[in-house]
């Protein structure tokens, strides 16, 4: 597979995203004591006593004493998911639209057949997404071990796998947006609109099943659950369907 060109094209974005992801992971672990100290301050305790949320105090105590809960609430259920959306958008929106907008696609076409062009682009993006997501997880885990916090490996692994699979779907949707527009702005805006739609769908009971972010940061893992099989299969099937449909569209489109 002729991936050298794609790797060179994506290289700087990959390095930047890797630094952001690993840096954020390290920061979340290192700031644990600081965050917990703030929450345990007398002023905050007084405030929480009067809070309308009945279990606010018990949650604060859990956050202080249970590192797995802290990990979920501050990283795998929050910042990691938000960063994964950024990862998907950064890697996907220029994939085809940039080549078409800048007219560099004529350098490729003919010298590679359409399958070679398509597969090298999409699979390089897949590998980049997986690398950044796993770097974020292992960066977090390693820092936690160095700081002597206890975090079950299996828990981290389940969250990582589900978040990565969800990000791959977001990436695949993003590349489709990149294919249908000839400039780079529209796919970028469409990606953002899709993310907002996914987030909003999680707010209503009737559309909650569409909330991909809920799957990516599943709280059941805290209670000992593993990878959610059914949604995983559905999401992977959607990825495959978009991958095939997108290829057929790319194969027969005028360039």
């Amino acid at each position: 597979m002729k991936m050298y060109k794609e790797i060179k094209t994506i290289q700087s974005r990959l390095i930047v995203m890797m630094i952001i992801m690993v840096g954020a992971a390290i920061a979340v672990v290192m700031l644990k004591n600081f965050a917990v100290g703030l929450l345990n301050s007398p002023m905050m305790k007084e405030y929480l006593k009067n809070s309308p949320y009945k279990n606010a105090l018990s949650l604060m105590s859990k956050l202080s004493n249970d590192f797995s809960y802290y990990t979920y609430s501050q990283w795998f259920g929050k910042n990691y998911i938000q960063l994964s959306a950024l990862v998907a958008i950064v890697f996907s929106f220029p994939v085809f639209s940039k080549e078409r907008e800048k007219r560099t696609v004529y350098l490729l076409i003919g010298r590679m057949n359409r399958w070679e062009i398509y597969s090298s682009k999409i699979l390089t993006g897949y590998l980049s997404v997986i690398s950044v997501m796993f770097a974020g997880s292992f960066g977090y885990l390693l820092t936690a071990y160095i700081m002597k916090y206890s975090l079950p490996f299996s828990m981290m692994f389940y969250w990582t796998v589900m978040a990565t699979i969800g990000t791959l779907l977001l990436y695949q949707i993003g590349t489709y947006a990149s294919l249908i527009f000839k400039d780079q702005i529209k796919p970028f805006l469409l990606d953002i609109a899709i993310y907002i739609g996914i987030y909003v769908s999680g707010l209503f009971k009737q559309t909650r099943f569409l909330n991909l972010f809920g799957y990516m940061g599943k709280s059941d893992v805290l209670k000992g659950a593993g990878i959610a099989i059914f949604p995983t299969v559905v999401i992977l099937s959607m990825c495959t369907a978009i991958f095939i449909g997108e290829y057929l569209q790319f194969k027969y489109m005028d360039l």
Binding site: K2, Y4, K5, K8, T9, K102, R103, T104, V105, Y106, L107, L108, I109, G110, R111, M112, N113, R114, W115, E116, K251, Y252, D254, L255
Partner: protein, 236 residues
Amino acid sequence: MMDVIEAKGLSKVYKNGVKALKGVSFSIRSGRIFALLGPNGAGKTTTLKCLLGTLKPTSGEILTLGKQPFPDGVKDASFVPEEKSLYDWIKVPKMVKIFGSFAPNFSFERFEKLAKRLGLTMDRKIGELSQGNRTKLYVSLAFAQDVKLYVLDEPTWGLDPLIRKEVLNLVNENVVGGKTVLYSSHILSEVEEVCDDLIILKEGNIMYNGTLDNLKEKNGTNLSETFLDMFRGEKR
């Protein structure tokens, strides 16, 4: 001599309804320099893109080196498009390495000789290159591929007269070596200098299809005058 390209009743209507080609038929024999001429909007670039498989013809048939070019293109052809767009943020040597990683039959040694011959500036980012240097780079990359067909759209754009002459020599040398060149340019004097056969397009139709010698003989003047007369409507 076999036909390298054969187009029969080739038509292309774009989604916006523009009829770029209206049933053109022609063939290109191997080992020749074939020019494609016409004013802006005549259908030259559409023809080239159909021949290379980047556009799907609305109707008609094309065979490029014996195969239908759409959708996968033709690996035994090398294309220099009108817009010499490359990856602006990459330095020239890196661009060459990247190109060599996917372009069939690419020779780094051949590229170095061509770059030297055309006086290409190497130690710069592509975005910092002048139009002339971009053309030199694209032409050097294209000719560093050892393929049967070279398709050149405005291959001397932005070049000074000396380098322009070198590019024309390069075109001639490749044809002597058994290759075929399809050449499109607005500079009629240079087309006249190199081409054997030509077609002249106007609004998607062929105005002339034959050898350069026949055209000049028929009109008793040079290509530039003949071309201008054809479009002014003074002579047919």
